[in-house]
């Protein structure tokens, strides 16, 4: 077992190295959310009500990009390129390998949310988070939920070429109706109902409580319940549909 942990650690460090060498991954995981935060924050500067929505919104979106988008892309590419199959033929334990992939995504989520929190304090008048425990709980819940859903989605993506289309077809509508950039209370009610049923709005609500309003975990139990239900569904689908081999063969 200690050996498996050591191997998993080596794999994790390799994943980190490859992440920084991959310009597309670094762009979508780090630069894009920060650029959006900078631009939209600049447009909304002076309007603290809007900034109070945008900063936790971008934090929630960052959790989704670093886990859901990254894993849906990566797992599809690793599977279709045959890397998963090749790894399967080595003595690297399955748990150590998948754990390293997950830890890589978790690292990105943690770093990204930290950057957003720091930017919120330095540039957007939010101050430090009022409830650190709540922040960690909702980031962790969001990571589990979106990571499992990302892996589950990768099973439905036939090849690397179609991955960006399918992933963005899910991601873009979800961030627009879930209140990343604006307060969704003015949206049509059917869109708000859809957003209520999806996990991202609840992750953002929790992050908003932690970073802005100071409403604690007790006020967000139903949000955690929705995230939990999506997590269970995501984990079941991620495990059941998992394939070490390319779909094309």
């Amino acid at each position: 077992m200690p050996d498996a942990i050591a191997l998993g650690w080596r794999q994790y460090r390799l994943e980190r190295r490859m992440f920084w060498r991959n310009p597309a991954a670094a762009f979508f995981n780090f630069l894009l959310p920060l650029a959006l935060l900078g631009l939209i924050g600049a447009v909304a500067s002076g309007h603290q009500n809007e900034l109070n929505i945008i900063v936790p919104g971008i934090a929630g979106m960052s959790v989704m990009t670093t886990t859901f988008i990254a894993l849906a892309h990566n797992m599809t590419a690793l599977r279709e390129d045959g890397v998963l199959k090749r790894i399967r033929g080595t003595p690297l334990p399955t748990g150590a390998y998948l754990g390293a992939l997950a830890a890589n995504a978790v690292t990105n989520a943690a770093v990204q949310v930290s950057l957003v929190v720091i930017a919120g304090k330095l540039f957007f008048g939010l101050g430090w988070p009022k409830d650190w425990v709540e922040l960690i709980v909702f980031v962790a819940a969001g990571v589990v939920c979106f990571a499992s859903l990302g892996v589950a989605l990768s099973h439905a993506i036939p090849n690397s070429e179609s991955a960006p289309v399918i992933v963005n077809a899910v991601f873009l509508p979800v961030i627009l109706i879930s209140g990343v950039f604006f307060d969704p209370k003015h949206a049509p009610s059917f869109l708000r109902d859809i957003a209520q049923a999806l996990p991202l709005k609840h992750v953002i609500d929790g992050l908003s409580g932690a970073m802005v309003t100071g409403r604690g975990l007790g006020d967000h139990l139903s949000a955690l319940a929705v995230i939990g239900l999506w997590s269970v569904a995501g984990i079941v689908l991620a495990v059941r549909g998992f394939s070490w081999e390319a779909h094309r063969s």
């Binding site: 191997l7 080596r10 390799l14 190295r17 490859m18 060498r21 991959n22 279709e80 390129d81 045959g82 890397v83 199959k85 090749r86 399967r88 033929g89 080595t90 003595p91 690297l92 334990p93 070490w244 081999e245």
Partner: protein
């Protein structure tokens, strides 16, 4: 054969995908230190068989032992002793050849030094190159390097030279021979007859999920047993003539005497020793060039046990004597 000396033992192996039976009850064994060739056309069941031995697929029926393990239990100990070269397989694009090999080396309990592996597969000059810039042939050599870096006892090579140019094939063959010289056991699949003939100590010809014949290349094709030689030439009217005979010496004598008597030449005269190819084409029901077979070939040994003949060190390609008389 006792299991102490067998690297692989397969008995009554079957594999079905729904209604399709890809492997229909095959048995063979591979001795330690031997190169075993699984030869057959595309879709014969070669890759399915090999992937069962590698632990990628679960069999439907039969028993399989690889280095004393049941591969579908996927024990780590077995995976540490086996090297696998898959048919086509990607690798991390943002790492260099050296980085990938050193990472792989750490996955194994007693790896070979990376510099040594680079040398074996002829990639020392590419050690610092990102894998995404490698040519197709270089990528195949890296595949081999990744399979060797754990210093395996047993190596699976699934169609190792498909898509290679002739020079690259020769290099790959030399590498396989050098691995055998190191005492490795090698199971290779191929649909190239000359490859099986050149490399394998033992060959099993597989088609439609069954083994049609098994033995050393000499036993199967070359080396008498009444198997006919092929004598061909182009006669004065430009027609290609083909004879099959177990005794080319006297046939040639007759043919050349007749030709000389008529003052003609036998253009493009050639004598071809019977090869694995003849056995293969006969067994798999394929016809190389549509030419009629003048004589019926004796039935080859069907799934016969391997003889006591020494390893096929001299399994060179069929002798072909071509001369414009």
């Amino acid at each position: 054969m006792s299991s102490a000396t067998a690297a692989i033992e397969v008995t009554g192996l079957r594999k079905s995908y729904g209604a399709l039976e890809a492997v229909r009850g095959i048995s063979f064994s591979v001795r330690r230190g031997e190169v075993f060739g699984l030869l057959g056309p595309n879709g014969a069941g070669k890759t399915t068989t090999v992937e069962i031995l590698e632990g990628y697929r679960e069999r439907t029926a039969g028993t399989v032992t690889v280095l004393g393990h049941d591969p579908q239990l996927r024990s780590r100990e077995l995976r540490a002793r086996v090297g696998i070269v898959l048919q086509s397989c990607g690798i991390y694009r943002h790492l260099t050849v050296g980085e990938v090999l050193s990472h792989w080396a750490r996955l194994y309990p007693s790896p070979r030094p990376v510099s040594e592996v680079l040398e074996v597969v002829g990639m020392t000059d590419q050690a610092h190159q990102p894998t995404r810039r490698l040519s197709g042939g270089q990528r195949r050599r890296l595949d081999l390097g990744l399979a060797l870096v754990g210093d395996p006892e047993l190596i699976f090579l699934d169609e190792p030279t498909t898509g290679f140019d002739p020079a690259a094939r020769r290099n790959a063959w030399d590498t396989v021979r050098s691995l055998r010289d190191l005492g490795k056991t090698i199971l290779l699949t191929t649909h190239y007859l000359d490859e099986a003939q050149a490399l394998a100590d033992q060959v099993a010809i597989i088609k439609d999920g069954r083994i049609l014949a098994q033995g050393s290349p000499q036993e199967l094709g070359v080396g008498g047993h009444g198997q006919p030689y092929t004598v061909t030439y182009v006669d004065s009217s430009g027609r290609r003539v083909e004879h099959r005979t177990p005794d080319p010496t006297s046939l040639l004598h007759e043919l050349t005497a007749d030709a000389l008597a008529r003052g003609e030449r036998l253009h493009q005269l050639s004598v071809t020793r019977p090869s694995l190819e003849d056995v293969y084409l006969d067994l798999t029901g394929q016809d190389a060039d549509g030419s009629q077979t003048a004589m019926d070939m004796g039935p080859p040994k069907r799934a016969a046990g391997r003889g006591e003949s020494p390893a096929a060190g001299g399994s060179d390609s069929p002798t072909r004597v071509t001369a414009d008389a």
